[in-house]
C-alpha cells in the first residue's frame, strides 16, 4: 500500500523562510508542494519521509530566493493490482459503488464486479442513486454505510488531465482504482475468487 520514492527536485526558497533553520524551511516547502498531490505512476503523496541531501543555494540574477537541489524520500500511497484492502461506502448508484479510505475517495466498483446475485433499488423514480442488495442463501443484505467492505484491487489508472471538461461531469480524478469486490457483513464472508 505504501512505498518510499526517492525524488530529486530543484526548488526556490522564498525569502521570508530564510530566517528558519534550512532543513525545516525546505521540509515545509516540500510539504506545500507535494502533500496530498498525485504524481503519475507513483501514487498519492502522503508525507515527506526524510531529506537525503540539500545542495546549491545559488541566487539567480533578479531573484530574491536561493535555489536548492534537494534529494528526499516521499511516502506514496500506491496500491498494487491484487492487493486487498478495506474501505467504507461513499455512494452507490446504478453503475456500481464508490468507496472511500478517508484520505482517498476515488475507488470504484463497477456493477459487473459486485457479488452476484444482486439487485439494485433506486431511491426514487428519477434519481440514479440507490442501494445495492446482495442475495445470499435466501436473504437480501443491503450494502450500506455501516459495512466495512473488503476488496481486491483490479486496476489503477492515472487519467491525463483534461484540457476542458463538460460542466456536469464529476470532478477530475487523477488516480482511479477499480476493484473486484469481496464483502463482509458482520462476519459472514463472501470470497469472490476468479470472476472470469
Amino acid at each position: 500500500m505504501f512505498y518510499l520514492s526517492k525524488i530529486e527536485h530543484t526548488l526556490p526558497l522564498p525569502a521570508p523562510q530564510l530566517s528558519r533553520p534550512i532543513r525545516e524551511a525546505i521540509h515545509t516547502e516540500l510539504e506545500k508542494l507535494f502533500l496530498d498531490k498525485v504524481i503519475a505512476n507513483l501514487g498519492l503523496c502522503v508525507s515527506v519521509y526524510d531529506i537525503k541531501s540539500i545542495e546549491g543555494g545559488f541566487i539567480y540574477p533578479g531573484d530574491g530566493a536561493p535555489t536548492y537541489t534537494v534529494v528526499f524520500n516521499l511516502i506514496m500511497f500506491r496500491p498494487f493490482v491484487g492487493e486487498i484492502m478495506t474501505a467504507k461506502l461513499l455512494s452507490s448508484d446504478a453503475d456500481g459503488l464508490r468507496l472511500s479510505l478517508g484520505f482517498f475517495d476515488d475507488i470504484y466498483v463497477p456493477l459487473q464486479h459486485l457479488p452476484s446475485p444482486n439487485e439494485f433499488k433506486a431511491e426514487s423514480k428519477n434519481s440514479t442513486k440507490g442501494t445495492w442488495y446482495w442475495k445470499y442463501e435466501e436473504q437480501s443484505y443491503p450494502v450500506d454505510d455501516s459495512d466495512m467492505i473488503k476488496f481486491r484491487i483490479q486496476n489503477v489508472t492515472y487519467p491525463s488531465i483534461p484540457v476542458e471538461q463538460p460542466k456536469e461531469s464529476k470532478p477530475f480524478a487523477p488516480m482511479l482504482v477499480t476493484i473486484f469486490e469481496k464483502v463482509t457483513y458482520g462476519g459472514i464472508y463472501f470470497v469472490g475468487i476468479n470472476r472470469s
Binding site: F2, S5, I75, F103
Partner: protein, 145 residues
C-alpha cells in the same frame, strides 16, 4: 522534478503509523498542536482503525522470524502484516496459487503464527465474535419483522 527511484522500499501500515505518531499525530484533542497536516491526519485516522494500531516492532520481527520457514513472497508477508487474517478464508486471497503451494495444515499453521505473534486489531472484541451470533441475531430480526 526528477524521480530517482520510484520504489525505494515498501512500508507496512505500522511503519507509516509509527512515522506519523513520531511527528505528533494522536487521537486526543492535543492533535491540533502537532505539526501534522490535515491530509496526513486523514491517513492517520484510517490507519488507527486497522490492525496496525497495536503492532510493535518486536511483534513484527517475531512474526517475520516465525514465518521464515514457509515459502511466502515479500508482498504476501506485507499483506499479512497489514490485514492480520484470523482464519484460512481470510488468508486464501492474499496468497497467490494458494491451493497448489500450501496444504490446509500449513495454512492453519501460518494463521496460528499470525494469531500468536501479531496483536489483534482494536475492535476484535466486538467485530470478530463468532459469526453464528451475528447470523442468529439477524435471523431473529428477520422473523419478527
Amino acid at each position: 522534478m526528477k524521480i530517482l527511484e520510484a520504489n525505494n522500499g515498501a512500508l507496512t501500515n505500522f511503519e507509516v503509523l509509527d512515522f506519523l505518531r513520531a511527528k505528533g499525530a494522536s487521537k486526543d484533542p492535543t492533535r491540533v498542536l502537532a505539526k501534522v497536516a490535515q491530509s496526513e491526519y486523514k491517513v492517520y485516522d484510517y490507519l488507527i482503525d486497522t490492525a496496525a494500531r497495536d503492532q510493535t516492532r518486536e511483534s513484527i520481527n517475531e512474526f517475520l522470524e516465525s514465518v521464515e520457514s514457509h515459502d511466502l513472497a515479500k508482498a504476501e508477508i506485507l499483506n499479512i502484516i497489514n490485514i492480520r487474517p484470523t482464519n484460512i478464508v481470510e488468508i486464501f486471497p492474499i496468497i497467490e496459487c494458494c491451493d497448489t503451494r500450501f496444504s490446509d495444515e500449513e495454512l492453519t499453521e501460518i494463521v496460528e503464527i499470525v494469531k500468536r505473534t501479531l496483536p489483534p486489531p482494536p475492535e476484535d472484541a466486538n467485530g470478530a465474535e463468532p459469526t453464528k451470533s451475528n447470523g442468529e441475531e439477524g435471523g431473529e430480526q428477520m422473523e419478527t419483522s
